[in-house]
């Protein structure tokens, strides 16, 4: 069933090139040596290929957000190494090799939508005209070109989240990191944004690491679903997903339901 994928419908990522992310025997211990010591991740290995879309799924507290933050170099591993775009994670962060989006859009309410998208470009020292043009193109990509001059407070939650995605894409990073970006949205908005995200990743060739606790979301979006277990957080399964197409038909396909069942069983194991 999974062999049905036709390349002209689903862009199959090139796996021959360098890996986008390599997490090598990483362990993360919080509050080390204190009574409230917590082992968030234990001996985790993960490789994300170029252009690959990988979801991390697992129960609350399984360390999936921690793993994402390690890749983003927002926190440092206790042991092990994280490599992003062929460099150490800290260097990759300094070079803005990834864009990141969180569950809360986290837009700066005092900046207009356009200026929010411009923020990472501003910090990169891009010229005013260039970043304006880039921001407008990104807003077009997420279908908000008409709202460039609005303030975030004037937009609905779904629209804010789209602005956050545009902001994450603004530096045109080879990698997109997302921590439950659609978690706070209603089902309809969520499904629409999922399709938009897939379209964007396909056209830009961006790799993605996507944290979620929705099984259907993980299966629909991903080339590979990585299942994690809690206490200590570790990877228990890695499930390849090949859907015939990633659209409404894809959501009805038997392969889709089979993979949902497979992920669910892996989560129970």
């Amino acid at each position: 069933m999974s062999e049905l994928a036709s390349p002209d419908v689903v862009p199959v990522p090139e796996r021959g090139g360098t890996a986008s992310v390599v997490v090598d025997s990483v362990t993360k211990v919080f509050n080390r040596g204190r009574p409230d010591e917590v082992t968030a991740l234990s001996d985790v290995h993960l490789t994300v290929g170029d252009g690959e879309f990988v979801s991390l799924i697992g129960p609350s507290g399984c360390g999936k957000s921690t793993l994402l933050r390690l890749i983003a170099d927002l926190i440092e591993p206790t042991t092990g190494t994280v490599t992003v775009a062929g460099k150490p994670a800290a260097q990759a962060r300094r070079d803005q090799e990834y864009g990141i989006a969180f569950q809360q859009a986290g837009l700066f309410e005092w900046r207009t939508v356009r200026r929010n998208v411009e923020l990472p470009l501003e910090l990169r020292g891009m010229s005013r005209a260039d970043r304006r043009a880039r921001a407008e193109r990104m807003l077009e990509l997420v279908g908000l070109a008409d709202f460039a001059g609005h303030y975030p407070g004037q937009l609905s939650g779904g629209m804010q989240q789209r602005v956050a995605i545009a902001r994450a894409l603004a530096v045109q990073p080879p990698l997109l990191l997302m921590d439950e970006p659609f978690g706070a949205l209603d089902e309809m908005t969520r499904e629409r944004l999922q399709s938009e995200l897939l379209g964007i990743c396909a056209t830009t060739g961006t790799s993605a690491v996507f944290v979620t606790h929705s099984i259907s979301e993980a299966v629909f979006l991903s080339d590979r679903v990585v299942v994690m277990s809690a206490r200590p957080g570790r990877i228990t399964a890695s499930i390849e997903v090949r859907l015939p197409s990633r659209d409404e038909a894809g959501r009805q396909a038997p392969a889709y339901f089979e993979k949902i069942t497979e992920v669910r069983q892996a989560l129970r194991a």
């Binding site: 933050r69 983003a72 927002l74 962060r93 300094r94 070079d95 803005q96 990834y98 990141i100 969180f102 809360q104 986290g106 700066f108 309410e109 005092w110 900046r111 207009t112 923020l119 990472p120 501003e122 910090l123 990169r124 709202f147 609005h150 303030y151 407070g153 004037q154 937009l155 609905s156 779904g158 629209m159």
Partner: protein, 280 residues
């Protein structure tokens, strides 16, 4: 337009209350069980508004300048002191807040003293600072120091709160952009702190006025409205309306400072004025 009308309505209400109490109240005040619960309403304690306005137009002393010019002059002098104190206090408050935000240890070590500083009675502090006058700085600057001493407090505390207000996600976002402390301060923390800063500035403005007026009195600095209140109140038994003219001046000064601070807010808080939400 509505605001102007409401201000006028407020003034009229205050005038009516004053004159109404004067008409209805006991001239000797109301005393219950030996405690005066309502003030005297006689002309010595509460001169008619018309008498106060009349007094503004009359010369200060026979052959002198009209009182309103003297009061206005004194107000401008104190305004200068207030402005210097306000600016210095705000600058110190901002620097302290930034330092406390940057270094946890500075916050822990300094914040208690910042709070403690405001419990020192001004009257005790003023003579000490007045001693610097003439040697370290001109006497008026001593009064500014006292104004700044009161003004820095709300700014330091309010700003610290504001700088700490961005969510962890905001700080993480800036980290993901490889922005250091200074750029995070300028792009995230400072703009996020503005809604906290403006109320603090309004308090600082009021505190600077109080500091300037009280500072003038306790250091014996001449030329300002604080000094004028003291001088005129000595004449209160013979010329009760006169001291009220000086008080009006002080009130005007406070309003002027508060108004100026509110004006600062307008260009910086544009995003707060759009409220309608678009859903798509």
């Amino acid at each position: 337009m509505r605001r102007v009308l409401s201000v006028i309505a407020g003034l009229i209400a205050a005038a009516l209350a004053w004159e109404g109490y004067k008409a209805a109240g006991d001239p000797e005040g109301t005393v219950l069980f030996g405690v005066r619960v309502l003030p005297r309403a006689d002309d010595l304690s509460m001169p008619h508004l018309s008498a106060i306005v009349q007094r503004l137009a009359d010369p200060e002393m026979t052959g002198g300048r009209p009182v309103w010019i003297v009061v206005l002059d004194a107000c401008l002098f104190t305004l200068g002191i207030t402005a210097a104190g306000f600016l210095a206090g705000t600058a110190i408050g901002l620097v302290l807040a930034a330092a406390m935000q940057r270094f946890r240890i500075v916050e822990r070590g300094l914040l208690p003293y910042v709070i403690l500083s405001q419990t020192v009675p001004l009257v005790a502090l003023a003579p000490l600072i007045a001693g610097w006058g003439g040697t370290l700085m001109p006497p008026w600057a001593c009064v500014s120091v006292i104004a700044a001493y009161l003004a820095f407090f709300p700014v330091a505390v309010g700003m610290l709160r504001g700088l700490q207000s961005p969510s962890a996600a905001g700080a993480e976002l800036m980290r993901s952009y490889a922005a250091g402390w200074w750029r995070t301060l300028m792009k995230l923390r400072f703009p996020a702190a503005l809604p906290y800063l403006f109320p603090a500035l309004r308090l600082a403005g009021a505190a600077a006025v109080v500091g300037a007026v009280v500072g003038e009195i306790s250091t014996g600095t001449r030329g300002g409205i604080g000094r004028l209140i003291i001088e005129y109140s000595r004449e209160a038994t013979s010329d009760p309306a006169k001291v009220y003219t000086a008080m009006l001046g002080a009130a005007l000064l406070g309003l002027l400072v508060a108004g100026t601070v509110s004006l600062l807010e307008l260009p910086l808080m544009r995003h707060r004025r759009h409220v309608e939400v678009v859903t798509l």
